[in-house]
């Protein structure tokens, strides 16, 4: 089996695994739509008070909300992607089985996560976005070029998102329990990705720092690409740099971790 075909098959497996839970997906669609509606109202009030806050007009702010709800599960912004399974496998020792598979550990989990992302985007993300577009004024681009650029930014965002979660999941090799890590992941993910408030609204030096962190590559940058608020080269370079840095760090940590792996017997 060719290497390409192997990882495509793994990704397809990831897609199917999440596609199995139809009721859970429908529940997720409902929840994201409900939260989208609540957030949209607060943003409308905020932008009423101060038009052009953070360089967005009201329609752009509304678009940002629905994009956030669309990407919440897609990018596993508060966790709940494959890193959950990975942590559990490290904790129980089942990771040993993954290690003697004739496949690269990082690529294996990356493929699974990309499959998961794709399903969450189609199954869970698109509907709230469409609901938002129907009931609230949105600023959507009309040219195909911007949408194509957005898809590139989205793919890069998936890589960054996996990079962050893979690093945190590997820490379980040392911590042995993933509960605290998952909590850190959820807190940082929601706040620093700009799920509750766009990062370009964050004030002063704090805002500068937040916009430079890897989480900015998850929601803020794809949103800015879609809304035409950023240069493409700059956006892609920012995302690609973080993706490369995180994936390299993940690779280094992985080799350190697997050298010390001791599988509990049983």
């Amino acid at each position: 089996m060719g290497v390409g075909r192997l990882y495509t098959a793994v990704a397809a497996g990831g897609f199917r695994r999440y596609a199995t839970y139809r009721a859970a997906t429908a529940a997720g669609v409902f929840t994201n739509t409900a939260f989208g509606i609540i957030l949209v109202y607060t943003y409308l009030a905020l932008w009423d008070e101060k038009p052009h806050l953070g360089g967005y007009d009201q329609a752009q702010a509304v678009t940002y909300v629905w994009l956030g709800q669309c990407l919440f599960a897609t990018l596993a912004i508060s966790g709940g992607g494959v890193e959950k399974d990975l942590m559990e496998r490290i904790r129980t020792g089942a990771i040993a089985i993954d290690l003697y598979r004739p496949a690269d550990l990082q690529l294996w989990w990356l493929s699974t996560d990309l499959g998961r992302s794709l399903f969450q985007l189609l199954g869970r993300g698109v509907i709230p976005f469409l609901v938002g577009a129907v009931f609230f004024p949105m600023a959507l681009p009309v040219d195909a070029g911007t949408w194509a650029a957005f898809l590139v930014a989205l793919l890069l965002a998936m890589l960054v998102s996996f990079g962050i979660r893979y690093l945190l999941a590997l820490s379980v090799f040392w911590l042995l329990d993933g509960m605290g890590v998952s909590q850190v992941l959820a807190i940082t993910g929601i706040f620093f990705s700009g799920m509750s408030l766009p990062l370009n609204v964050f004030p002063g030096a704090f805002g500068e720092v937040v916009r430079f962190l890897p989480w900015a590559a998850q929601l803020q940058v794809p949103a800015d690409v879609l809304l035409g608020e950023t240069g493409l080269t700059r956006a892609f370079a920012f995302q690609a740099a973080w993706a490369a840095a995180l994936l390299t760090a993940g690779r280094l940590l992985q080799s350190a971790a697997t050298r010390r792996v001791v599988v509990q017997g049983g």
């Binding site: 859970a24 409902f30 409900a34 109202y41 009030a45 905020l46 807190i187 706040f191 509750s196 408030l197």
Partner: protein
């Protein structure tokens, strides 16, 4: 009825104490998750602070006034979350068949499932909400009267009861849709989130919906408007500020009926 309630409370207390003892075996882990809990809920309020770093009012309400709404919503929800917040394990228990075990025990099922995985760390939300509420009470410039002083604890209790009813109704719903546990988050977590913002922010039909269909407005919007001396949402009559306890009783009764119906419809996975 009274006998049954006493029995339920006793079972709840015993099971909750058991979970607390088990948590306390790992003190460091408990301290860390408790701190984490404080931080998560704190970030909630940080978002509001960030908003107010750019604007002076939201929907015509000042920061201390919004903090008052936030404190009430977060504290009331925190209590409900502490008492019944682990009820989403019900879906898992139904799926893996371990729910049957609860049915054969000589204690009310609702008390058993409510206390299941009782997590003291959820106290973090109550503490954080209470801190914000305390700050809001002194800085919102409230024109205090004895009636207003009385109304604050009253609405915290009623609010907690309304959220508890939501948790129980959500659990009853899981008998129907086992995988769809997330739907109840829209009402519980979504509910507490929307109540943190002034009613003037939301569309009129939306406010109608969360007043008459899902009576969340009685957790804080209506009574808080009385305390702050603001016009009531939807021009409700003056006595509406004192209706939360009544609304809470009705909600709990309906949730209890839903729970019974759900329990009766339960079919074991059989494995």
């Amino acid at each position: 009825m009274g006998e049954r309630a006493r029995e339920g409370l006793r079972a709840y207390r015993l099971i909750a104490a058991m979970w607390m003892r088990s948590t306390m075996m790992y003190r460091t882990s408990f301290a860390l998750t408790m701190a984490g809990n404080l931080l998560v809920t704190g970030l909630d309020f940080a978002t509001i602070l960030l908003m107010f770093s750019r604007v002076d009012s939201l929907g015509g309400w000042s920061l201390p006034e919004v903090a008052f709404l936030y404190g009430l919503s977060a504290t009331a929800f925190g209590f409900a979350d502490l008492v019944l917040g682990s009820m989403d394990v019900l879906g898992t228990r139904i799926r893996d068949g371990s729910f049957d075990m609860l049915l054969v025990r000589p204690a009310p099922v609702l008390a058993q499932i409510g206390a299941d995985h009782f997590a003291l760390r959820r106290l973090g939300r109550v503490v954080q909400g209470a801190v914000v509420l305390g700050w809001a009470l002194v800085s919102a410039g409230i024109d205090w009267t004895p009636a207003k002083v009385l109304l604050v604890p009253l609405m915290l209790g009623a609010g907690a009861a309304i959220f508890c009813a939501l948790f129980v109704a959500g659990a009853a719903f899981q008998f129907l849709a086992q995988d769809a546990a997330e739907v109840q988050n829209s009402f519980t977590y979504g509910g507490t989130t929307l109540l943190q913002y002034p009613p003037t922010v939301f569309g009129k039909d939306f406010v109608r919906g969360v007043t008459f269909l899902l009576p969340l407005a009685f957790v804080n919007w209506v009574p808080a408007a009385y305390v702050l001396g603001r016009p009531y949402p939807l021009r409700l009559p003056a006595w509406a500020a004192w209706s939360p306890p009544l609304v809470a009783v009705v909600c709990c009764a309906l949730a209890g009926l839903a729970w019974r119906a759900g329990l009766r419809a339960y079919r074991s996975t059989g494995s």
